[in-house]
Symmetry: C2
Subunit: 344 residues, 2 copies
Amino acid sequence: MVMSCRTSVFLPDILIIMQTLSQLREEFETRVRAYCPPREPRGLYDPVTYILQLGGKRVRPLLCACGYLFGAEDMREEAWLGALAVEVFHNFSLLHDDIMDEAPLRRGFATVHQKWNIPTAILSGDVMLIQVYHLLARAGATRDLPHIMDRFHETAVGVCEGQQLDMDFERTDQVGWTAYLDMIRGKTAVLLGGSLELGALLAGWPHDDALTLYRIGEQLGMSFQLKDDWLDVFGEPGKTGKRQGGDILRGKKTALVHVAMEGAGSSDRVFLADWYHPDHSLRKEQDIERIIAIFDRTGAGGTVLARASAYEEEAMRLLAGIESRGPGKACLQQMIRELQGRDG
Amino acid sequence: MVMSCRTSVFLPDILIIMQTLSQLREEFETRVRAYCPPREPRGLYDPVTYILQLGGKRVRPLLCACGYLFGAEDMREEAWLGALAVEVFHNFSLLHDDIMDEAPLRRGFATVHQKWNIPTAILSGDVMLIQVYHLLARAGATRDLPHIMDRFHETAVGVCEGQQLDMDFERTDQVGWTAYLDMIRGKTAVLLGGSLELGALLAGWPHDDALTLYRIGEQLGMSFQLKDDWLDVFGEPGKTGKRQGGDILRGKKTALVHVAMEGAGSSDRVFLADWYHPDHSLRKEQDIERIIAIFDRTGAGGTVLARASAYEEEAMRLLAGIESRGPGKACLQQMIRELQGRDG
C-alpha cells in the first residue's frame, strides 16, 4: 500500500511537511485500529487493544516513518509494520513499567493492572513483545533482517537496562549525573534512536547513515527526557495533563534534583538529601514549594533546559551532515521543531 | 564449532544413540554456563542466570538438537543457538507463570519473585524474551529467517494463549475436555513441536518435513502433559520431586478430573464439582484421599494413561513416515522411549 507524501506542489514547503506529518499521524491511527480487532482469548488481547488505543503522541512510529522517508519517496506496507512494531514495543514497556512502578493511571486512564489485574498485565505485555518481533520480521523480510534484528536487540535490551537502573536508583541516594544520563538513555533515548534507524533500514538505506539516524534519535531522546523532567515543575498542568510537582511528591530523582544538588548551599543540600532519601516515606504536599524554591535558587530549571538544548543542537548538527532521498529529512526537522516547542 | 555425534562404530546402535543424547545434554549444560556470565546491571541479569541454572530436563533444547540432526550429521553453532533460544523461552515463561500462579518454589528452589521481588521477575523475564529473539536471529541468519520467525511466532503466541486459558479455567467450573486439550496444547505441546521444527529449519531441512516434526513434537507434548497430570497422583513422590496430590490440593482441574467427571456417579460428581469450584477456598488435606478414591472408581488414571499413549503412538506413526540425513531420527526415537518410561 502506498501513500503519497506530497499532496500539492503549490503549498510552501513547511506547510507541505506539516501536512505530511499530520497525514502520517492520521494514517498511523487507522493502522493501529486495524491492528486491534477483537480476538480470543479476550482476557489476553483486550488489554492490548486498550493500551494501544489510549493515544499518546506517537513519537516513535512517526520517527520510524521519518527514517523510512530518508530512503524512500513514499510510505509502503513494510514501513507501517515497522512503525507499529516500535509503538507496540513502547506500549509493552509502559504496561510492564506501570506494574513495577505501581502506577494507577496512564494518560489519565486506569493502567492495565488496575483495570484488570497483575497477571493479565504481565501476560498481555508478553504477547505484545512477541507481536513486536512478528511485526519486525514481516517488515524486514525482504531486507537485511539479521542486521535489523541485531540493531533492534540493542534498543530492546537498552530499554530493560534503563528500567533496571531506574529501579536501582530508587533504592540508593548515591546517583551521579553520568549514571542518571545512562538511565534516561536506556529508558527513553535508545528507542527514539532505534525507531529512526529501523525506518531507514526498512527502506534499504545504508547501515552507516541509518546509524547516524540512530544517534540523532538518541540525542533527541535525551533532550526529550530532560524537558519532561523540567515540565514536571515548570510546565502548565493544563497542558502537560499532569499535576505540578508530581515527580517531587514521589521523590523521583529527576535531572532538576541532580543539578540542584550540585549547586545548592549546605542547608538546601541537607533538605534535598533528606527529601530524596530512599527511606523517606512521608513527603508532605506543602513542602513541594520548598523544593521548587531550591530549584529556583540553584537555577536548576535553566541549567536543565540548556542541557536539553545542547542535545537538540547536536541532533541538528548530525542531521545537517546527511541527505535524504525522500521527504524524511524535512519531516524530521519539523518533528524536532515540534518537540522543541512542546509544552506538554 | 562441530561435535561429532558418532563416537564409535563398534558399539551397538542403541548405545551409540544413548551416548549421543547424553553428550548433547552435557554439551548443552556447558553452553548454558557460557551464556550466563555475570553482567551489569546485576539486578537484571542475576535472576536470568539463576533460573537457567536451576536445571530441569532440558527436553526442549534436546528436541531442537534432534530436529537439527534430521538435516545435518553434526551439531554446529547455529544449532546450539537455537537450542539456547528454546530453553531461554521456556524459562522466561516459567518465570512469568510463577508470578501469575504465585508459586513459591520451582524445581525445589525459591522462585525468582520470591527470592528477589515481582518487579525483578517481570523485568528479567522480559529481557529473557528479548534474548530469545536475538538467539533466534543469530541462529537463523544464514537460513530462511523470515520463515523461522514466522513459525516461532505461532509457538510463542500459543504459549501465551495457553497460559491465558489456564488462568481463565481457574475462574470457571465449565471446562470441557476439548477446551482442556487446547489449553495444554498451548502451555506445553506447541513449544515441544516448535523446538523440533526450529532445529530442522536451522539445518535447512525442507519446510514440510520440518512441519511434520512440529506435529510430532505437539503429539509428544500432549502425551507429556497428560502423563504429568497422572504422575501428580500416581507417581512416586521420591521420583517426581513433588508431593503426591499437590494438584488436587490446589484444586487444579487436571486431565484426571475431566475424565473422572465424565464417569462419576451422582454423589461423586457433586463432591468433585464442589471441590473444584473456583470459589472453594478451604480444601482439606485429609479429603485428598476421597478424590483419589473417585479417580480409582472411575478408572481415571488408566484412561488418562491410555490417552497419553494414543498421542505417543501418533507421534511414532508420523515419525515412521520421515527419514533423517543425520542421527536425528534415532535420537528422537530414543527420546520418545525415555519420555514413555519416565516416572518423574
